[in-house]
Amino acid sequence: MNRTKVDEEEYWHSSKFKAFTFDDDDDDELSQLKESKRAVNSLRDIVDDDDDDLERVSWSGEPVGSISWSIKETASSGGPTLEGREPLKTRNSLSSYPPLPKPASSYSLSSFFKGRSRIGSFQSLSDALSDVPPKNYAPELRRPKGEYKDYSSDWSLSDTVRRLQKGKVCSLERFRSLQDKLQLLEEAVSIHDGNVITAVLIFLKRTLSKEILFRELEVRQVALRHLIHFLKEIGDQKMLLDLFRYLDRTEELALSQYQEHLSIQDPEKRKEFLKSCIGLPFSVEDAAHVQDHYTLLERQIIIEVNDRHLESSGQTEIFRKHPRKASILNMPLVTTLFYSCFYHYTEPEGTFSSPINLKKTFKIPDKQYVLTALAARAKLRAWQDVDALFTTKNWLGYTKKRAPIGFHRVVEILHKNTAPVQVLQEYIRLVEDVDTKLNLATKFKCHDVVIETYRDLKDRQQLLAYRCKVDKASAEEEKIDSILSSTQIRWKN
């Protein structure tokens, strides 16, 4: 953008304009413009006579004067200095032209209510609205007030519930008999107002014995669900467990108890707590998971103590070279396996931190194990370990390469860990599907594999095309040339 152009732009930006209207002249050449005329014309409707004037927007998009913007403003400045103080942020504002003048406010609803702070002195709706221009008509939403003063301690059952519904203070103490209390509850349930139901439940919880409360709620399912929600909300775990036990909802009981471990920070205490969960009546699958959860944390605590010691003593090379970024406590199983493949790969199966031991204890599937070990060893650039991971010997002693996850995945993981080309191409060669092999080899620039594959396919055209992609006078080019000149190959094209 050259300077004059910029100046010109600046001029267009900074000029002040009046609102405009388009003429309706026909212009054949620019029929497209007509569309934008209409578009532009309709934009005027946005800048209409709403009392919030054309909004200015700060860089962060918060309209200047919006509530969340103002919180920052008023909290940081000494006082209400909004007017006229353009914050620095608006320097980059989207609308660089000044805001249109705010239309003089023709009305202010607030004026009708000013000076009316005494409770209960509400004018009637029609009084308040008589001066309001019709377009601002907004009906009263609340129900008529005026029930503030009429206090009585002798409300009927349904009146009591109504009062609670309106959020008024209302003593429930005079409902003494069980029958009265239950009727009160039923009345509350029948109006579907959770707030009122909860209020009555608080009262019942305080004035009834657990056994009676549970017994009566068992046959009142809606109220029962509200009580469960309420107990969860206030964190009354003990009563919640008692309730589940009473109702014989054993799985919920177990899960609800298990959930508590999340709030225990100390690892030893958490471990002990998980241990206490093992016998709970979970479903069969969940029971196995809880058992595993406990075993895992138990392991992690042992490993953590050990490794922290190793690390701080500075004797072990792996910890010196690769200091741990975080503690292993409370990490998922797969993360733990990765950790142990990273720091404890060569340990014998007997130790708690050995990968093989983890694999056996938690019955980690082969696929999962290989993926994790591969990622860990590749990160350490331990290519021999990687090699060993896929080498199997058959009974005749021949070695064979096999990957339960497919060699294309192996290649991708190796590449992610910036493996050198020599390593990459070894595994690309093992990919069975020819197209996948070519794709990977091309993507990761393993020229030898590409060249050999085209040779094996007897595809002269592709080989010629690939010749243009390799560097001039490189070993690859030489290799291609020698293949192309070979008389042994019967090219298919």
């Binding site: 946005i46 999340l262 199983l333 797969v334």
Partner: protein, 596 residues
């Protein structure tokens, strides 16, 4: 600012004015200067109905965010807490009040609960010994907040969990109250249809409320012809799939909050002279998205694949408009051109923004992983291989993709197979727990309770029948010039919207069998209108239906309903209300068990 609310068939500015008025009333009850202490969650929704200027008119001088310990100094007479009725917030308020400095002049405390007072919360304040410190304890029934000319939301993020997991009906009560307010403003809705347990509840509460407050019988000519109440759990499938409309994708990728989106700033840096190469703004770029912006209104509901061509067309139009200046010769012509400039600038700014957003989205949608994910979703929705462990999901777990992504896919598979085979379900569960941590057992349990991830009952899969009868999968989808709602998911027609469409024509009687396969009762109620208010429809006049999604709605579903509204021979226009605007990610998130 809010003119876009009155563009639609129903003028929602009336509702906005009504709630603003109520706010003013409350503020004036607390005479003198004031400071507001905000529950941060509320500032977003409040921003849609009021600006700081309104509060200032009523002597609000300072505003703070609700935080523990002592309140910041402010020389005001009143301190007002604007809060949701949550117990943890009550504890913070109590801390604020108790640490108030006794030496400085006393300030009056008030509390405004949004949307409802809660006896439980007041009990908590009492336990903390501060209940007596509050002069006014009131509620502000901000049940339904107008978001756009045809869109209302309660913005209650826990509504689905409360309704379908905890069976707590409080949010249904609020929904019913919100509907009563709407009826007070727009007239009694003569016809109510519904599908699902929660829908039935809401209708019951409404009918009861009407009976108990005969005063609410009003003499306003009804604006809405029909109310359709839909349970989210009637259609658990739709929100799990990736939305493919422009607005839907913005929401999927960046998350729209109270009509605002925060975007990475790089693509929005203004390249002015001398500034190029200088430090870029690191703060996220925040943009408001609603139909007040003409360009956005045009493209928001399009399939993303149709957005690019519109943007380039617009770009040509605008640059042509700017080129006009060379043709302006006379003073009059120049003057006229100049007068158009502010609006051309606005249009250009808008175009620049959306081009940048479209670029950001395209980076995602053209990625290999997005394509793979979409392929799997579409296979599931069209009924392919839903009964075995999916390779892509397995791979994603192995690579430890975000857990929510995994859960969305597994739940989608489960819903499209009417539950998973026990073996498949156990396999997924095990993989998830081993990779992401055993504590997610609780989340998996919640998903099972909500019906999102469950074993197949009785070995029967109803989904194929439902899919075929309701034509949920369309092979020949037209993304550019759609002729069916299935364009919003590039092939899948959202079940919820199909139900609304079939209700309008030919009526639900034609799909009785399928309705029975979906959970919960379906019903019809009529509300009597006084003789004078009965509608005589003009020839060709469209009916207006309010569709209320109990438990949340996605932008793609909204787009599909807008598409139906605009169909030439559709005969029905839709206004949409919901407990929460959401997407699959925010939905699953609301069901996850977090450490407390």
């Amino acid at each position: 600012m809010a003119a876009h609310l009155s563009y639609g068939r129903v003028n929602l500015n009336v509702l906005r004015e009504a709630v603003r008025r109520e706010l003013r009333e409350f503020l004036d009850k607390c005479a003198g200067s004031k400071a507001i202490v905000w529950d941060e969650y509320l500032t977003g929704p409040f921003g849609l109905i009021a600006q700081y200027s309104l509060l200032k008119e009523h002597e609000v001088e300072k505003m703070f965010t609700l935080k523990g310990s002592r309140l910041p100094a402010a020389d005001v007479k009143n301190i007002i807490f604007f809060v949701r009725p949550r117990l943890e917030l009550m504890d913070i308020i109590a801390e604020n009040v108790l640490s108030e400095d006794r030496r400085s002049p006393a300030r009056d405390f008030h509390i405004l609960f949004v949307p409802r007072r809660s006896l439980l919360c007041e009990q908590r304040l009492k336990d903390q010994g501060v209940l007596g410190s509050f002069i006014h304890r009131e509620e502000y029934s901000l049940d339904l907040i107008p978001f756009d000319g045809d869109l209302l939301s309660m913005e209650s993020e826990s509504a689905f969990k409360e309704c379908y997991l905890e069976n707590d009906q409080t949010s249904l009560y609020h929904a019913a109250k919100g509907l009563m307010t709407l009826q007070a403003l727009y007239g009694t809705i003569p016809q109510i249809f519904g599908k699902g347990e929660c829908a039935r509840q809401v209708a019951n509460v409404m009918i009861r409320m009407k009976r108990e407050f005969p005063g609410s019988q009003n003499s306003i000519f009804p604006v809405f012809d029909t109310l359709l109440l839909l349970d989210r759990n009637v259609d658990l499938l739709t929100p799990l799939a990736t939305q493919l409309t422009y607005e839907g994708l913005i929401d999927e990728i960046y998350g729209i909050q109270n009509s605002y989106v925060k975007l990475p700033p790089e693509k929005f840096a203004s390249k002015k002279q001398g500034e190029s190469g200088k430090e870029l703004p690191m703060e996220a770029k925040k943009l408001q998205l609603n139909s007040a912006e003409e360009l956005y209104a045009e493209i928001r509901d399009k399939n993303f694949n149709a957005v690019g061509s519109v943007l380039s067309k617009k770009a040509k139009i605008i640059s042509a408009a700017f080129e006009e200046r060379h043709n302006a010769k006379t003073v009059g012509e120049i003057k006229q051109f100049v007068s158009q400039l502010p609006h051309m600038q606005a249009a250009r700014g808008s175009l620049a923004n959306h081009t940048s957003i479209a670029e950001l989205i395209k980076d995602v949608t053209t990625s290999e992983d997005f394509f793979d994910k979409l392929t799997v979703e579409q296979e599931f929705m069209s009924g392919i291989d839903t009964d075995k462990v999916n390779n892509y999901i397995e791979d994603c777990i192995a690579q430890k993709h975000p857990l929510i992504k995994i859960l969305r896919l597994v739940c989608l598979q489960s819903v499209c197979n009417s539950g998973l085979k026990q073996k498949v379900l156990d396999y997924y569960k095990r993989e998830i727990l081993q990779t992401y941590g055993y504590e997610h057992m609780l989340t998996l349990n919640n998903l099972e309770q909500a019906g999102l991830l469950r074993p197949q009952a009785g070995g029967r899969n109803n989904y194929p029948t439902i899919r075929k009868t309701l034509r949920l999968w369309m092979d020949d989808v037209n993304e550019q010039n759609p002729n069916d709602i299935s364009y919003v998911y590039s092939g899948y027609a959202p079940l919820s919207v199909r139900l609304a469409q079939l209700l309008a024509r030919p009526g639900w009687r034609s799909i009785e069998e399928v309705l029975k396969m979906l959970p919960g009762p379906h019903f019809e109620e009529r509300q009597q209108l006084p003789a004078g208010l009965q509608k005589r429809r003009q020839q060709g006049e469209n009916r207006v239906t309010l569709v209320f999604f109990l438990g949340g709605v996605t932008y793609a579903e909204i787009a599909a309903l807008r598409f139906l509204s605009q169909m030439e021979d559709g005969g029905t226009e839709y206004v949409i209300a919901t407990t929460k605007l959401m997407n699959g990610t925010s939905w699953i998130e609301s069901l996850m068990e977090k450490p407390f």
